[in-house]
Amino acid sequence: MTFEPKIVGFLCNWCSYTGADLAGTSRIQYAPNVRVIRVMCSARVDPTFVIRALEEGADGVLICGCHPGDCHYSEGNYKLMRRYPLLKKLLEEYGIENDRVRLEWVSASEGQRFADIVNDMTERVRELGPSTIRPALQADAAGR
């Protein structure tokens, strides 16, 4: 059986979730691997959410927000833009592959773009294989 990655997607309500909705209403076919969680703003995506998703067994995490300058709350996506590179540095030190966590800006009119991103990310994560984080932590707890 081929490995089907489980990807958690945090999508902002105003642009990216609407963009994903457009992909659906436009009947665009794309990989079903992203489990979408709607957040009011990409700034709501606390680094804890991403880490928690990985700890709980997600193979990847996708965060989508409005393009810079287009935030419904003026500056929310800039907050994420500042936190994200620090989070990536942190995850790198934990040994988590770069392609497992991704940030993209998707507007409400970019249904095709959203579908392309999901397809691309799904393939990249599929190539990486299943995340070893959860099994490793379970083995730690059992092996003591």
Partner: protein
């Protein structure tokens, strides 16, 4: 209960600072000695593991375990202490969250052995000797504790009644906690709820910090020695990563009061699961730039974000350790 309280203290993977912090209560240590029999405390009084093993279950009233669990010896004594004690206190950052030894979770056991015993400038090149739990020398069978793959905090291996945070815990807090426990054990006061963090407050270090706070917007991060700081102003606002914002207070603001940033030793605030993730969030939020390239440049001044944000609590973080694929 015996006439005097029966207490014990042990160090696992620790530096000894926690043992010293108990002595740092100055003359109060004499009150402890008057009120309690110190049955086992390797750093200060004579005693063997066999003495601990010979005790009845629950014979000790309170045991303080400081240090993380790095090897089989640490785990063995932690389990013994749990069995022999009515109350077990995780004493200090290492027992509470994994502490400085917990940073070793960013490397595997093989990497650590390679650096410590095989490829190290201070070791004769070509050395191939690494410690093994069991070996034979001159016909004698030798045993040493087994070094684990990773570091654990105390409550990963045994049930813990109370947590006393700090690296090391502030002597005033140590004194207060000992008094509370003595009062509880002698029936003079109610014991804190099981699992409580004792000897610390419920607010962030910033709440108790006397520095003035204006606006948090930085365009450059500094390490403490790279900048002549304003002694009155918030360190974070000056670009010095100070963990006070994500750290439980109770320490007496010891570091910021001596012009050093808080390192986060008192651990996460109540209801926070991952202290480091919160620190990443806080540090990111104060960067004053909207240009991705400039942001990259600004964070390049933070050389080790995992070490900075989980300095005392990597084994207590959600991810706990580096994952090697």
């Amino acid at each position: 209960m015996a006439e005097k309280l029966q207490i014990a203290k042990y160090w696992g993977a620790a530096c000894g600072g926690c043992d010293v912090s108990l002595l740092d209560t100055n003359e109060f240590i004499l009150d402890i000695a008057a009120a309690a029999d110190i049955r086992f405390w390797p750093i200060a009084v004579d005693g063997k593991y066999s003495d601990l093993e010979a005790m009845d279950d629950g014979e000790l009233d309170v045991s303080f375990y400081n240090g993380a669990v790095r090897n089989s010896e640490n785990e063995h004594v932690a389990k013994l202490m749990r069995q022999k004690s009515k109350l077990l206190v995780a004493y200090g950052s290492c027992a509470h969250l994994g502490g400085i030894p917990g940073l070793a979770n960013l490397a595997s056991k093989d990497e650590i052995f390679d650096r410590a015993y095989l490829h190290n400038p201070s070791i004769q090149s070509g050395n191939e000797t690494v410690p093994l739990p069991e070996s034979t020398d001159d016909g004698y069978e030798l045993e040493i504790p087994a070094f684990y793959e990773r570091v654990y905090k105390l409550d990963d291996v045994v049930d813990v009644d109370y947590y006393l945070p700090g690296c090391p815990p502030a002597p005033t807090q140590v004194k207060a906690v000992v008094q509370v426990l003595v009062a509880a054990l002698t029936g003079q006061a109610e014991a804190p709820p099981k699992g409580a963090v004792v000897g610390a407050s419920e607010v962030a270090v910033c709440e108790d910090c006397p520095r003035t706070r204006e606006e948090k917007k930085v365009t450059k991060f500094y390490r403490p020695w790279q900048i002549i700081q304003d002694p009155e102003r918030c360190l974070l606002e000056q670009g010095i990563p100070c963990a006070g914002i994500v750290t439980r207070s109770g320490c007496g603001v010891r570091c910021p009061n001596t012009n050093m940033p808080c390192r986060g030793c008192y651990g996460p605030l109540p209801n926070v699961t991952d202290q480091g993730a919160k620190f990443v969030s806080a540090l990111g939020s104060i960067i004053d730039s909207k240009d991705p390239d400039e942001i990259e440049q600004i964070i390049a001044d933070i050389p080790d974000i995992a070490g900075l944000s989980y300095r005392f609590g990597l084994p207590a973080s959600l991810l706990q350790r580096k994952v090697t694929p």
